[in-house]
Assembly symmetry: C2
Homo-oligomer: 408 residues x 2
């Protein structure tokens, strides 16, 4: 019986994970659940899975839940401190880190520092603090199991193979809903069109990231830390069917790939059950029905976000944090129709160009840079709305850097 | 430095293996080479690689070689006894078993009994005596490394993963040169057309087997023993590009596949170097250039050999031996234009139907059945030529069985 905590249980990954847990009741016991503010769904999950502890980031929501769930024998924690406590729950064997966005960083780090087996669905943990988190994981004996389908694929392929036999890894990308949209049309696409992902059912933020290909950029960054490979050994391959989840090329030219139907429950179930496999957690893949798997190179011109991510990864320091924060702000702006689709890379570019090149050594410093970048991205978005035209696309460092404060 | 013996060094796989050995002189030392009768090529190989021992199955050829190579400090052995001695050479770490056809069985078994690491390119070893050979390998601590691209792919994927996590394996098949030939045309195809394989450069016998799909049937049999899986967990998938070399489906629905450019030097180099990998033994695979990988179900009606192989595997006993012997005789008949392309399955069917259902417990009994089946297949081929029409296609056991003698 594996005792698990789910950080972000009311999100897309969290709900899928509970769906799996429910199907294998002899394997998993839920000991902790956390959410941001959706206390009504969290309450239903508590009634169904009976964890010892629940936590809500929002303190008002925690109060409402506490009033409703007294009889359930579940301790309700609140705020970031509550999430941290749930993440480090002494009896937990595995923590599924599935909080969306930068908010997931601190609780996930808490699970790593508690030496848990961490099933990592939160991209930002490694994007923002890859070097710190991997060092802490090694220090505290925390095993990190990737839940993203691409990284989970690479993890399944590598599984103990010596790193020096790897020549490169190839992350596949469906290309999102606009892979065949003429570049001229992209300026006018709507949130509704962008949310219509052809292959994967995911949350809104990640679906937009998939449409801009920033999702793949963030994944390149994650892969860099998860697998200890430099950016030049990480490539992206367009594969519209999303059947080949990723590939590893070895030094001898042999390539090993992981495939499956495109369903997030596959990698979630793999990470939850590792090193075992859950019988029939996915429907079987029928390649005769699929017929053809196609591959092409990504279009770095039409989708500049991927290029910006490689650039930020190479620059290091504050750059990945600024890229990620500016992207979160810009995607929110697009979803609320404050800016257009192509304004997303514009906001990121402008914010990146305003950063200074500080080293970032602690989680606290990560959070400071993150806060600065959000403010700056908001400012860039306002400028953009005011001017009604895109700001000139500067090059990194070509403008005067913004001042990132050195303390919270 | 790995010391290797190549059984069948003048054949297609043997020559490719020496090509690899030559490119990595700091890794391999050739200590033994054997051939059937091509003593002139063997002499050239001795001059180049300076093995301590060479052996020729043909005694006249051995005499000629001995006269020429006295000054080379290489002991020249002869006959089956000579091949056995070379296969069990005390100083050898790895024996590449690359003799063509049933003639490879006895020397390969000698290497297994000597507890060598055996890189197995000879299909017949497991087709004829899978149960015996795998038992002997376990007893003598011999590791069997498959060299066939399909089995090598499965081996690379499984590499230490627990067998009970495997739901099935999928062997890919290019389908050969006639995969799109209308069935009505098959009766009149020529050896020249059949030898024109679209993807793989191989010896004549295996190229014809690829055209009839018997090659895939023999591979299903090999896989059964190599990986300890029942026939119902082994499937065949047509994949004309021959890029995906085979796939493993795990119980959770996850599929892991090995890919590479279609070049026999890939799996040969893998088996020679295992558990290491040879830097750049193959050119890199460019999936963008390949563009599309397609899959479909094999046509069991147009290519009955594959069906006969599953049938023989299920029947066990003498059936796989008879199937293999009849196929060797029929393919030789086709290559010498004694019979037509569709007569190959007819000869196999008729010979299979004449066998009796003895158990086969020793290598000696295997050889007795093999000899009987060759005679019977020759007889069926004569009948077929005399009648000018195909014999009625009987079902297994539906005709009076032939008498297989119980001693040599």
């Amino acid at each position: 019986m594996k005792r698990i905590v789910i950080l972000g249980s009311t999100g897309s990954v969290g709900v899928s994970a509970l769906d799996i847990v429910q199907r294998y009741p002899d394997r998993f016991q839920v000991v902790g659940l956390t959410a941001g503010q959706n206390w009504t769904l969290l309450e239903a999950q508590i009634r169904r899975f009976r964890p010892r502890v629940a936590a809500l980031a929002n303190k008002e929501a925690a109060k409402s839940l506490r009033a409703r769930s007294r009889a359930l024998g579940c301790e309700v924690l609140e705020g970031v401190e509550g999430l941290i406590q749930a993440a480090a729950l002494p009896e937990a064997d595995l923590v599924l880190a599935a909080i969306l966005g930068a908010a997931g960083l601190v609780p996930t780090v808490a699970a790593v520092r508690a030496g848990k087996c961490v099933a990592l669905a939160n991209k930002e943990t490694l994007v923002l603090a890859g070097a710190i988190v991997m060092r802490e994981a090694a220090e505290h004996g925390a095993l990190i199991l990737p839940v993203d389908s691409e990284h989970n694929a690479i993890f399944q392929v590598l599984d103990g193979r010596p790193r020096e036999t790897v020549r490169r890894i190839l992350l596949t990308a469906s290309g999102g809903p606009f892979v065949d949209t003429p570049p001229g049309r992209l300026e006018r696409v709507t949130p509704r069109e962008a949310l219509n992902h052809p292959r994967w059912k995911m949350g809104d933020k990640i679906t937009i990231d998939s449409a801009t290909m920033m999702n793949k950029g963030l994944e390149v960054m994650e892969a860099r830390w998860l697998f200890g490979l430099p950016p030049e050994q990480i490539e992206v391959l367009l594969h519209p069917q999303s059947i080949v989840h990723s590939l590893v090329e070895f030094v001898d030219g042999s390539v090993i790939a992981q495939l499956g139907v495109p369903d997030m429950r596959g990698p979630i179930a793999h990470a939850l059950a590792y090193p075992e496999r859950l019988e029939k957690s996915l429907p079987p893949l029928n390649l005769v029905e699929v017929g053809a798997l196609t591959f092409r190179a990504p279009d770095a011109e039409a989708f500049p976000c991927l290029r910006y991510a490689y650039e930020a990864l190479a620059a290091g320091g504050a750059a990945p944090i600024v890229l990620n924060a500016a992207n979160e702000v810009a995607v929110h702006g697009f979803l609320t129709e404050a800016i257009g689709f192509l304004d997303i890379p514009r906001v990121i570019r402008a914010t990146l160009d305003r950063r200074d090149q500080k080293e970032v050594r602690t989680i606290e410093e990560v959070l400071i840079v993150d806060r600065w970048a959000r403010g700056e991205a908001e400012r860039q978005m306002q400028l953009l709305k005011k001017s009604g035209v895109s700001p000139p696309a500067g090059r990194a460092g070509s403008q005067k850097s913004g001042e990132i404060p050195t303390e919270c």
